[in-house]
């Protein structure tokens, strides 16, 4: 049982840190090239009229979630929020690929090497990781760092 607990703690911590890495990297690459990011969002078939507000909201939300994941008390909430965020990204890509009148040629700064299909697969993996971490999360905040 003790072994299971340790394994569980390690898994949750690993997924959380993976998320922290992804979100910090993603938000920083957006903020460091903010003008470019805003222009690209402006060309997005889905969000262009709200590019101004969305271009702020997304990196800020990513940083907040990353911060929450680093604090044990907020980790559960952070995982749930990260799950929601990744679901939104995934839905966004899915809509662009299937319902948009055109697929924009550049994909918003992060992970530009990936194609849209790979991006979709990558996102889905992250969605499942977060869901898994939430499901195995111990009831209440019983994970002690000891």
């Amino acid at each position: 049982m003790e072994k299971f607990r340790t394994l569980r703690t390690i898994t949750i911590t690993a997924i959380s840190l993976l998320y922290v890495l992804l979100f910090v990297y993603a938000s920083m690459s957006k903020l460091f090239d903010y003008e470019n990011f805003k222009v690209q969002l402006g060309q997005s078939p889905l969000l262009s009229p709200m590019a101004g507000s969305v271009s702020i909201a997304v990196p800020v939300a990513e940083l907040l979630i990353a911060a929450a994941l680093l604090v044990p008390v907020f980790r559960y909430a952070g995982l749930l929020a990260g799950f929601g965020m990744m679901t939104m990204f995934t839905a966004y890509i899915y809509i662009i690929l299937n319902y948009s009148e055109f697929v924009p040629c550049s994909c918003g700064g992060i992970l530009e090497k990936m194609g849209w299909q790979e991006h979709l697969a990558f996102n889905i993996v992250f969605v499942f990781l977060a869901a898994f971490a939430v499901l195995i999360y111990p009831p209440q905040q019983k994970i002690k760092e000891s």
Partner: protein, 356 residues
């Protein structure tokens, strides 16, 4: 465990709902109440080019798979060029009257006819395109007109001035004994009724609509060939009121622009139910450096005035596009001494009225 599933489900569903909602609203905003965010159709690209050797050409029209270009410095010369811009043939047209005080001759092609007009005379000639000989038409024309558009072989629309010198739209049935009419209500005065009403007139023979695009404000008027109003639409920029200042020179009584005006929509073209407008204003989230390299054309659907998409026409060296023309799935632009052809993408062409 069950509660966690519920939480995940709830979070997942609301996440998807938010994105779908954002998608829906942004589609609605872009097409119907655009807040000046353009959507560029990236793949509209140049496919052909030709050197015309002169920079005085203008588009006279298209017929039988050929483009026709008039020449402001050689008014009776007509250049014919195929739609792939490969071969140019120059022709000379003949008028049956040369005793008129010509000052600004223009040639217009309409199906198998060509028209020679001069709004300063005023006069209209008509001839068969294959014969290249035009006859003067004894028509009821106003003392002067401009922006003439041929509606069909027997009628033309134009702008002229009323008794107070304010611009109005008019149309004439060409030929002896036929009438003419004006509609003073189409153009909406904002400042002086002259400068502020400046713009361009287009006729779409397939949609059967006349379109007047204001030069200094974000508006266009769509009317039927008999000058009855269909609707008035808006271009995507935010300049709803003409920003010009007019001074009256007291010594001569002339009205002049006191400051450089803010131009909104420079030139326009129509084709099969779509309106193409060369806008002079940069939208939100656009790269400024591209505006030093290209001109932007915005496309609207004349059915309801909704915005479709935008694309770039690139400068050639320092020379910028001065006019453009849409024929088939191509946009042709005159840039300096060159003519270039850009192919339109399905994102735009799917909105064309289908040819029967």
């Amino acid at each position: 465990m069950k509660r966690k599933f519920l939480w995940l489900l709830l979070t997942g569903i609301s996440a998807i709902a938010i994105v779908v909602f954002l998608f829906g609203t942004s589609q609605e905003i872009i097409h119907h109440r655009n807040n000046f965010v353009r959507r560029f159709s990236d793949q509209v690209a140049q496919t052909c080019e030709a050197d015309l050797k002169f920079n005085s050409f203008y588009f006279a029209g298209a017929a039988n798979g050929q483009l026709y270009l008039g020449n402001f410095t050689a008014p009776l010369r007509l250049a014919k060029i195929d739609t792939a811009l490969k071969t140019i043939r120059k022709q000379t047209i003949v008028l049956d009257r040369l005793d008129l005080p010509f000052r600004s001759v223009e040639i217009h092609i309409q199906n198998s006819y060509f028209f020679v007009t001069d709004g300063t005379v005023p006069c209209v000639f008509r001839g068969k395109l294959d014969l290249l000989k035009a006859n003067w038409l004894d028509s009821k024309l106003p003392a002067s007109f401009s922006h003439i558009q041929i509606i069909d072989s027997n009628s033309a629309a134009y702008t002229t001035s009323d008794r107070n010198g304010e611009s109005i739209l008019g149309m004439t049935h060409l030929g002896e004994g036929a009438g003419s009419t004006t509609n003073p209500l189409l153009l909406q005065k904002q400042i002086d009724g002259n400068f502020d009403l400046d713009g361009t007139l287009q006729y779409d023979a397939i949609a059967k609509k006349l379109v007047y695009v204001y030069l200094y404000r974000n508006q266009f008027i769509v009317s039927n060939p008999d000058l009855s109003l269909d609707y008035s639409g808006n271009t995507i920029d935010t300049i709803s009121k003409a920003q010009i200042r007019i001074v009256k020179i007291s010594s001569s009584g002339d009205q002049k622009l006191a400051a450089p005006p803010l131009i909104v929509n420079k030139t326009a073209a129509t084709s099969r139910g779509l309106l193409f407008v060369n806008s002079a204003l940069i939208g939100k989230y656009e790269q400024e450096k591209l505006w030093d390299q290209a001109k932007v054309i915005d496309v609207y659907d004349l059915k309801d005035g909704s915005y479709v998409a935008s694309f770039y026409i690139y400068h050639i060296g320092k020379q910028k596009m001065r006019s453009f023309y849409v024929s088939g799935n191509m946009v042709y632009a005159l840039i300096g001494e060159h003519i270039v052809g850009y192919r339109l993408t399905p994102m735009i062409t799917k909105h064309f009225i289908k040819n029967e």
